[in-house]
């Protein structure tokens, strides 16, 4: 099992950041790597079990199922059902924690998955830096412009 962990500090309250990322269908609005997204079968995007179907900017199609959503913990857990990345048993968690000192929040994004050994390094880099840190960087830019 490979584990990727990325964390950052975003200069806005956990409530504010959560309102931007809580919607499981909203990735295109805040993550620069995502081109479009829809929820399958007309489900609502906060029904646990719903499936988002989206494309990355480089054209890859990914389907992910929402496994847990907590407005109390500011966290969501999801798994990959289908993707071109070559990962199996991929489960990721995105979570915010308020930082009481200064109205900022601590953001964590982690994933566990299996993959071919030869691809470990590349996938850890792509997921940890490209997807997770790339998302945090976009949030940091967005909330520094306020």
């Amino acid at each position: 099992m490979i584990r990727v962990y990325t964390s950052s500090v975003i200069d806005a309250s956990a409530d504010t950041v959560w309102s931007r990322i809580r919607d499981f269908n909203a990735m295109p609005q805040w993550h620069p790597g995502i081109a479009d997204s829809r929820i399958e079968d007309g489900d609502s995007s906060d029904r646990v079990g719903c499936i988002r179907h989206f494309h990355t900017r480089d054209g890859g199609m990914i389907r992910e199922r929402l496994l847990a959503l907590s407005d109390y913990d500011y966290s969501c857990v999801y798994e990959i059902l289908e993707s071109p990345m070559g990962v199996e048993n991929y489960v990721a968690t995105l979570k915010l924690t308020p930082i009481t000192d200064g109205g900022r929040c601590f953001a964590e994004w982690s994933a566990e998955f299996d993959c071919a050994e030869a691809r470990e390094t590349e996938l850890v880099e792509t997921i940890g830096q490209g997807v997770f840190q790339g998302g945090f960087d976009a949030l940091k830019r967005h909330f520094s412009r306020r």
Binding site: T6, S7, S8, V9, P98, T100, D101, F106, G128
Partner: protein, 487 residues
């Protein structure tokens, strides 16, 4: 009703450094202003789950607290009050650290649940939140920035004191580059005065080639691991080590080989902490070579305005640094190189007068154009022996740094007296014999890189497992700049 207090902050230090202080249940009197005295009852250790600490606060109050949970994997400590002169009832607190990977900082979360006598909820909540937690954040920040955790040895040894697996490159038989065999080994837990380092970049030096060939068997008996320098991050430290902590980015340079590996345990005296601006690969490429340039020019060559300096292999890892630094010192820099491309690079770095020669022919040019060399930095050895004599000016100083072409035949004193020649055969390790000397020279090299006095040499990277390839390249005389192995 139970009171719940949560406070959190971000500390601008790596998590290993913050945790090294906070995991010690008996450390608060060293960094938290409200605590006057702390001791662990019954002579137990500060990392023993179940131990009880007894605090005397500055205001005279006394608190006894018991450690309920300590996790080095989750960076978490949970404790409760067992007896106190302040009315905090059923008080249980948890302190958790998490790494901020975006910037190598630490998120610190501190929370507690407790009851109070009626009417005192607010007062006690504020005391805990502000007087203990927020003040603690500020106090620890000050403690770390003032280096308070670096003074004296760590009170409690870090727990990962087991041997760690390491990849390494071993020479079982002296010979060509193919004798460098990748393999597995262990890095022992650091003993007193030692630190264990997870290495990211290892500097390749010509000395490593001599070791591999068996020219200095006393320095590297078989089987042996070559390599004198590397850069990385401290995993753990032994007792009696001060000034170095887990998580510190460091580089080292030592007189015993063994650096061609991914994890190594070395004496703390060999180690210097790295400034933020100096990346691991740059440090590994520049520490030994930069310090060599430093003692060559400052201590040995006394190079200054007008010194006619002749540098062989002027486009090599040491050559480029020596040329660039000497140029800044006002010297007339003459260098030998084996190709036009190397001449171009050497000139770019400050070697104003490159001489292209593949046959080590340079004495005539040096004599006719400059009247001889005052200082000669020679890494060639025997193949240039006669040319070197001929190229030196009267009272010239021949500094023999290496012998890439083969062992230099003994030089007679009669030969030296012909032109009042001084001959030096220095080893870098004698110029960094103490940690203070090493730190001073390293600081000068980093400062010279930072202010542009010294321009970093180009770096050619090879993976640790391909050390044979790196040696073959170095010996081919086709490389420009410094070689590093990436672990």
């Amino acid at each position: 009703m139970l009171q719940h207090v949560v406070r959190s902050t971000v500390i601008d230090a790596p998590i290993a450094r913050v945790w090294a202080v906070l995991r010690d249940f008996n450390s608060h009197d060293r960094w938290h202003d409200v605590v006057a005295e702390s001791r662990i009852e019954g002579g137990e250790r500060g990392d023993q789950v179940g131990c009880v600490r007894s605090f005397t606060l500055k205001d005279g109050n006394r608190i006894r607290e018991q450690l309920l949970t300590l996790s080095d994997t989750e960076y978490k400590s949970t404790y409760c009050i067992v007896e106190a002169t302040v009315p905090l009832q059923r008080y249980v607190a948890t302190l958790t650290l998490k790494p901020v990977t975006d910037g190598d900082r630490t998120f610190w979360h501190w929370e507690s649940i407790f009851a109070t006598p009626p009417g005192r909820e607010r007062e006690l909540r504020e005391m805990v939140a502000e007087g203990v937690y927020e003040a603690g954040f500020a106090n620890l920040r000050r403690h770390l920035s003032g280096g308070g955790d670096r003074r004296g040895s760590a009170a409690v040894a870090m727990p990962s004191a087991l041997p760690l697996p390491t990849r390494r490159v071993v020479v079982h038989r002296y010979g060509g580059p193919e004798m460098l065999q990748p393999g597995e080994g262990v890095a022992a837990a650091p003993k007193a005065g030692e630190v264990r380092i997870r290495q990211r970049a290892i500097g390749v030096n010509y000395l490593d080639v001599y070791l591999r060939k068996g020219w200095i068997p006393s320095l590297m008996p078989l089987p042996g691991v070559p390599g004198m320098e590397a850069a990385g991050t401290i995993v753990d430290v032994g007792s009696e080590v001060s000034g170095l902590l887990p998580g510190d980015r460091v580089a080292y340079l030592g007189p015993a080989p063994g650096a061609y590996c991914s994890v190594r345990t070395v004496p703390a005296a060999w180690v210097v902490r790295l400034p933020t601006a100096i990346e691991d690969e740059l440090a590994a490429a520049t520490l030994l070579k930069g310090i060599t340039a430093d003692f060559l020019l400052r201590d040995l060559g006394r190079v200054g305005p007008g010194t006619r300096l002749l540098v062989h292999a002027a486009a090599g890892g040491v050559g480029l640094l020596v040329c660039g630094w000497a140029h800044r010192l006002g010297a007339t820099v003459i260098g030998t190189v084996s190709s036009d491309e190397k001449a171009r690079v050497a000139r770019e770095y400050g070697c104003e007068h490159p001489i292209v020669t593949s046959e080590h022919r340079f004495a005539d040019a040096v004599q006719s154009r400059f009247g001889g060399a005052d200082v000669l930095v020679d890494g060639i050895g025997d193949a240039a022996r006669d040319e070197n004599f001929a190229a030196l000016a009267r009272r010239g100083h021949w500094i023999s740094l290496g012998q890439a072409s083969g062992a230099l035949q003994p030089i007679g004193t009669d030969q030296l007296v012909e032109k009042s020649i001084t001959f030096s055969r220095p080893a870098v390790f004698d110029y960094v014999a103490t940690n203070a000397a090493l730190a001073e020279r390293a600081a000068r090299v980093w400062a010279a890189l930072a202010d542009g006095t010294l321009k970093a040499a180009p770096i050619e990277r090879h993976s640790l497992g391909a050390a044979d390839e790196a040696h073959a390249r170095l010996e081919s005389r086709r490389t420009i700049g410094a070689l590093v192995l990436v672990a």
